[in-house]
């Protein structure tokens, strides 16, 4: 009914306009769920909550931009089609409320499932960007004893509840400086696993300098995964990864690392490099590692600020461009190697738990020092206020564990509105703490990198799927 004395509003009377008004209302409701991005000259829309990926042409891109800007889109040629996708649930914000409840219910319920054993706080290299201060974590040089190693295994079994699959990561410093304890822990964990029904998965991170024939064979046969440190091109590697006498390490390690992965056959490994502001063209290092024959590559930004090598805000555009160029190059090669950050599995996960929480530092994953002290993860080792307890008497800072447990993405600054939140889970606590002194305040620079990496990963998936 039209109110007396007032001219009838045309949209109330005209069914076509009324229907269009309804469509605009419906698509506007979900516009916050749509994350538009461009990679390699192609335009995509990611549904933040459903995970759907849609490629669009220029006109559709224009529609989405205008909706985001709150502009009038009446009569836009792509409106009806977008409305159809919304009606089909391709874009929707429907389920996030349920997930927020799930995240809340999961708080405080996790058990420990992985330990990082710092078997040696000592190193035979002098990497300039080392967050562990040449392996010592700003303390004394030390190696883990057999007793601490065995007790760490017992602690993990006791703290893991009903969880069957457990992880032990040998780290340092340089863990090959303490191979006797690595072997002891592997044997002991396997024996205890038999008794308790737990299954252990072992990873070891090494710079490769001490890889002789026997150690290579042992690691090839006994580690489920190895992480091998090498930065890329020889000059890039040697600038940041010198030996104690100042000479470069590239020539000393590269053949040893290659020989280890050849011995491993199909078993997992990562060659893991670090890039700094001295090699913002790090895609060249990734490609160099690939040209050496490495198939699983991870090259990460160096952690830290205020040093000649640390990344700065002004480097960001260059780094983001570099990720894009790398993704385009990988697409053109048909994906002949894996880059850790561009690996995204659209079919089989990640599961909701990972999406809401990301890494399990401080709750599911703890680091153990040579003396047996427990910290929330390898990057917190040596930070006195994060000392949680030890493997002999267990955790005495449950308040801290709770703090980590509660810190899912809905508790973190900026994360609830972040377009890649379900491919992140709230980022790195250690980075957040290093940047802002607060584990719930993510490092914005790291977030910008992560967002671009997710976009590049989605682009790469799209490109590789087309090639079959």
């Amino acid at each position: 009914m039209v109110a007396q004395g007032r001219p009838p509003s045309p949209c109330v009377l005209c069914p076509v306009i009324r229907r269009e008004g309804f469509i605009i209302f419906e698509v506007s409701r979900v516009i916050g769920d749509i994350h538009p991005f461009e990679v390699g000259g192609r335009r995509f829309l990611l549904s933040v909550t459903t995970g759907a990926l849609v490629e669009v042409d220029e006109e559709a891109w224009d529609l989405v931009q205008r909706l985001k800007d709150g502009e009038d889109v009446a009569g836009h040629p792509c409106l009806a089609e977008l409305a159809e996708l919304v009606a089909e649930g391709v874009f929707s914000q429907g389920e996030e409320e349920l997930w927020i409840r799930t995240a809340r219910e999961a708080r405080g319920r996790s058990v420990v499932k992985a330990l990082c054993l710092n078997v040696a706080h000592s190193c035979n290299m002098r990497c300039r960007y080392c967050f562990a201060a040449e392996g010592t974590y700003r303390g004394e040089r030390a190696v883990m004893s057999r007793e601490v190693g065995r007790r760490a295994v017992d602690f993990l079994i006791e703290a893991s509840g009903a969880r069957r699959n457990l992880e032990i990561d040998f780290f340092g410093g340089e863990p090959l400086l303490n191979m006797a304890v690595v072997r002891e822990v592997v044997d002991y964990a396997r024996a205890r696993g038999e008794e308790t029904g737990k299954r252990f998965r072992f990873t070891l991170t090494t710079n490769g300098l001490l890889l002789d024939e026997e150690t290579t064979r042992y690691l090839a046969e006994n580690m489920d995964n190895v992480v091998l440190s090498l930065d890329g091109r020889p000059e890039v590697n040697d600038r940041m990864r010198p030996l104690p006498d100042g000479s470069g390490s590239y020539d000393r390690v590269v053949d040893r690392l290659l020989s280890l992965i050849r011995r491993r056959g199909d078993r997992s490994y990562y060659v893991r490099g670090t890039f700094t502001r001295h090699n913002l063209d790090f895609a060249a290092d990734v490609l160099h590692l690939s040209s050496l024959g490495f198939k699983n590559i991870s090259v990460e930004p160096a952690i830290g600020s205020g040093r000649d090598w640390s990344l700065r805000e002004e480097d960001l555009p260059r780094v983001l461009r570099e990720y894009e160029e790398l993704a385009v190059e990988m697409a053109s090669r048909g994906g002949d190697f894996e880059f850790f950050h561009f690996q995204i599995d659209l079919e089989r996960g990640p599961c909701l738990g990972k999406r809401l929480k990301g890494c399990g530092a401080g709750t599911e994953y703890l680091a153990v020092t040579p003396a047996g002290e427990l910290y929330p993860c390898h990057q917190f080792v040596g930070e006195a206020e994060f000392l949680l307890g030890d493997v002999f008497d267990g955790i005495h800072r449950m308040d801290l564990v709770r703090k980590f447990s509660d810190a899912d993405l809905y508790q973190k600054r900026g994360c609830p509105d972040c377009p890649v939140r379900f491919y992140c889970g709230g980022g790195c606590y250690a980075n957040a703490y290093a940047r802002h002194g607060d584990i719930t305040h993510p490092d914005e620079l790291g977030c910008a990198l992560h967002r671009r990496r997710v976009e590049c990963a989605l682009y790469l998936q799209a490109a590789l799927r087309e090639r079959g």
């Binding site: 992880e167 738990g353 990301g358 599911e364």
Partner: protein, 47 residues
């Protein structure tokens, strides 16, 4: 793009159960791959 006049091409649409599921048995920290400051939140289900 515009196959049959379409402006949008749906490349991928996850099954809802894939997105929701999760047994909690998997690795979640950065320890076994990148080792610094990234989660494995983008990685696949291991089990």
């Amino acid at each position: 793009m515009s196959k049959n006049g379409s402006h949008f091409k749906v490349l991928f649409r996850p099954k809802a159960e894939t997105f929701r599921g999760g047994c909690g048995e998997c690795q979640t920290s950065c320890q076994s791959a990148c080792k610094t400051s990234c989660t494995v939140g983008n990685q696949s289900c291991e089990r």
